[in-house]
């Protein structure tokens, strides 16, 4: 590409951020607030807060078919539908069409995603947990993969910083394996959940069941234009109140308010431009997906926040004239160690009691049972596998569907609706997955996406440690419901495949050595120190907690480091 001096100046920024999801939004906010002229490149369309949430206030009767999409529509979303709860009539505009954005699978991998400004921060589960030194030290203590180059103390002030801004509702519990944060008022648990909390603590060694820690504004809290949660539980459609954290409601408006942000949707990055002489990136090449034109943009620093698989893909497509497997591949680890939490194992039960009790409002949250296996200082918690798992779940009363399998003929529905079903509760675990070098992704240049760009091929599976853990995830869930006096307890042992938890991690891991990791302790690519990878790709292990809060903290920390070193002319 020939580009003259004037055009080059116009296309030059202090910083470029690739991606506008949870971590990209944070990079944009931090960099612009520190004075950097920042270009944010988003592969998909723009989504403006409130005005681009087309279904946010649509009443339920406007989705008379249970909010399902039609059989014909399903043909476009065959992989996105695999979770069973993602693509609905009211949310289908957030998910990619698999027909437009295909990927290959050596073994089944459910890669669930959306390409638009805000990315998955619009549809995320909002659970926000700190990781602890139990997580950051595990690889080193157990001789697994490589050691994290940071510890909890490195991230703690950044967790504080992030929580202050996004707002996290939760209950402090004083657990070392799940550090407390700066919480807004917790959401309430219902009668049965409180009962189970008491029984589990009493019969299972003080085990904690707490309310989920979620990025919602609660109490009388507001944040700028963001209002408090109104408990509609329609979050995945986009919240016009901005009550839960999303890039669209929070970080991107904050970045825009500085006057330093340029947001460019429809910009698919094909590669990072690299200068081998000074071993730095100089910018990026993009394809404008509306015009088909290839363009170049330049900056002193580049934040890669295109999601775990997306970020690694961009790196793998960059500087291939020097490293055939891409920028950051000199360690042999780029694209490897692909992780996700293994999921869909637990138990459900029906409870006899509290018939005279109900709840009011809708709670966009669940309960959380923090990890209780393989905890240091607790010999009884030791199991024959490494790491552990945490549960999410909820208790509720049956709706009108409980009356379907009953004798109701001739009874007015007006009578039936006065009888909610019995209380029931389900808990499902998210289990830690170990980083395996052989769980990997590769670039497929033969199969192109709708933009004519290469696709990825995924090859990952659960192994012995995860399969052993899954048995315990079921047995421990059954035990908790049994000690809580449920009259019927059913183990939940559904098939689980990588990707289903939508917590992909690990493809450009942090480490202490360029020989065994892709990025260093400041998230800098070893081979290009002005390139920072701060999304899920950078995770060295997966812990069992939802990871997004950690991506945000890592991003804020790396952005601070980048700006400090830019000022010192170190980058």
């Amino acid at each position: 590409m020939n580009i003259n001096g004037k055009a080059k100046a116009e296309n030059t920024y202090d910083a470029i951020v690739i991606g506008s999801g949870i971590s990209g939004g944070w990079a944009a906010k931090e960099l612009t607030e520190k004075g950097l002229k920042t270009l944010v490149l988003e592969k998909g369309r723009d989504v403006k807060h409130i005005q681009d949430y087309p279904t946010a206030n649509t009443p339920p009767w406007d989705y008379p078919y249970g909010d399902r999409i039609t059989i014909e529509e399903q043909t476009q979303y065959q992989k996105q539908l695999r979770t069973g709860y993602t693509v609905t009539a009211s949310t289908k505009h957030w998910w990619v069409k698999d027909t437009e954005h295909p990927y290959g699978e050596e073994k089944r991998f459910d890669w669930i995603r959306g390409y638009h400004v805000g990315g998955r921060s619009i549809m995320w589960g909002r659970h926000s947990y700190r990781w602890s030194d139990l997580d950051f030290e595990a690889n080193a203590k157990e001789g697994i993969a490589v050691d994290w180059p940071i510890r909890y103390g490195d991230l703690e002030p950044w967790y504080d910083h992030v929580e202050d801004f996004i707002g996290v509702s939760g209950q402090a519990e004083g657990l070392p394996q799940l550090p407390d944060g700066k919480f807004l008022p917790p959401m309430e648990m219902n009668c049965l959940e409180n009962h189970v909390r008491e029984k589990v603590a009493k019969h299972l060694n003080g085990r904690i069941l707490t309310i989920g820690r979620v990025a919602h504004l609660t109490g009388n809290t507001t944040r700028g234009n963001r209002g408090k949660c109104q408990h509609r539980n329609l979050c995945m459609r986009g919240c016009p109140l901005g009550a839960y954290f999303s890039s669209n409601a929070s970080t991107i408006p904050a970045a825009a308010a500085t006057g330093n942000l340029t947001l460019r949707p429809y910009s698919a990055v094909s590669e990072i431009l690299y200068n081998k002489d000074d071993k730095k990136a100089t910018g990026v090449r993009i394809k404008d997906t509306e015009t088909g034109e290839y363009l170049e943009y330049y900056a002193k620093i580049i934040f890669v926040n295109a999601s775990t698989i997306g970020s690694a893909q961009i790196l793998m497509q960059s500087a291939t004239d020097i490293w055939p497997d891409g920028l950051g591949s000199s360690s042999g680890e780029l694209g490897h160690n692909l992780m996700d939490h293994h999921f869909f194992a637990g138990a459900m039960g029906v409870f006899d009691g509290f018939e005279d009790q109900y709840y009011s409002g809708q709670r966009p949250n669940s309960i959380y049972i923090p990890r209780f296996r393989n905890i240091p200082g607790q010999p009884d918690s030791k199991r024959d596998y490494l790491r552990g798992f945490g549960y999410q779940g909820a208790a509720s009363r049956g709706d009108w569907s409980v009356h379907i399998k009953e004798t109701t003929l001739g009874k007015p529905l007006k009578e039936l609706v006065q009888q909610p079903g019995p209380w029931r509760m389900g808990v499902v675990a998210f289990g830690e997955t170990l980083p395996y070098h052989e769980n990997k992704m590769t670039i497929n240049r033969d199969v192109l996406d709708i933009n004519g760009m290469p696709t990825v091929h995924l090859d990952a599976e659960w192994k012995e440690n995860e399969l052993k853990m899954r048995k315990d995830m079921v047995e421990a869930a059954v035990e908790m419901l049994e000690v809580s006096d449920f009259k019927v307890v059913q183990p939940l042992e559904m098939m689980s495949y990588p990707g289903q938890a939508i917590h992909e991690m690990g493809t450009a891991r942090m480490g202490r050595s360029p020989k065994s990791s892709v990025v260093n302790k400041w998230n800098q690519v070893w081979d290009a120190q002005n390139v920072f990878v701060t999304d899920g790709a950078a995770m060295t292990s997966s812990a069992c907690q939802n990871p997004s809060l950690t991506y945000m903290a890592l991003t804020a920390r790396a952005a601070n480091y980048a700006v400090e070193n830019l000022k010192k002319m170190n980058l």
Binding site: P60, I71, Y358, G361, T408, G410, E482
Partner: protein, 192 residues
């Protein structure tokens, strides 16, 4: 593990109380037969609509429900079969409704919509009993599911029959049932 009862699928959450309905027997005797309407449908034939409308009359015997709400239910079933059901499910429906009427003819001498309300009620009672004891779906069970689904997704069903608040403002975990009074509408996307 004594209390653990392994049941298949989500049937565990449907409950299984079987209580004979004396009020239902009284009610059916004064029920008028439902007239077949001139609905424009894609999959359902006129005789299917007639059969379904008569099932609805027994499953939703409430007075005071606007005719438009009841009329919407066969349309919902037609829409389900047209756009949301697989080819196999459509075939199952077509076979199921034929068998439903053939069995009714065997028992009562005429197909379902031409039976007296008493005959219809007695036939459906047998169908309901079969469904409750069946491990898998039955035609009657599927119709009941779809009819309830359709009703509780109408604006009338949600706002008049369920406890519905589009902007609750808060969530209170423990509230006496008598304060709520009826089943709440839920927006839960992920149901266990």
């Amino acid at each position: 593990m004594d209390r653990r009862t392994a049941l298949k699928g989500t049937g565990i959450l449907l409950g299984s109380s079987v209580i004979a309905s004396a009020s239902g027997l009284l009610m059916q005797s004064c029920m008028e037969k439902v007239k077949t309407t001139d609905l424009e449908t894609v999959v359902l034939k006129k005789e299917d609509i007639s059969t379904i409308a008569n099932i609805i009359a027994h499953l939703i015997p409430d007075s005071g429900i606007p005719e438009a709400v009841k009329t919407a239910i066969p349309l919902y079933i037609d829409g389900t079969l047209e756009k949301y059901a697989s080819r196999e499910q459509r075939q199952e429906f077509e076979i199921g409704i034929k068998e439903f009427n053939a069995n009714c003819t065997n028992s009562y001498g005429s197909e379902f919509s031409k039976c007296t309300p008493e005959e219809q009620f007695n036939y459906l009672k047998d169908m309901e009993s079969d469904f409750i004891s069946a491990q898998g779906p039955t035609f009657y069970g599927t119709m009941k599911q779809w009819i309830f689904e359709a009703f509780f997704q109408t604006e009338f069903g949600i706002t008049q029959y369920l406890s519905y608040n589009p902007l609750p403002g808060t969530y209170t975990g423990c509230v006496p049932m008598e304060q709520i009074g009826k089943i709440q509408h839920s927006n839960d996307a992920f149901k266990l």
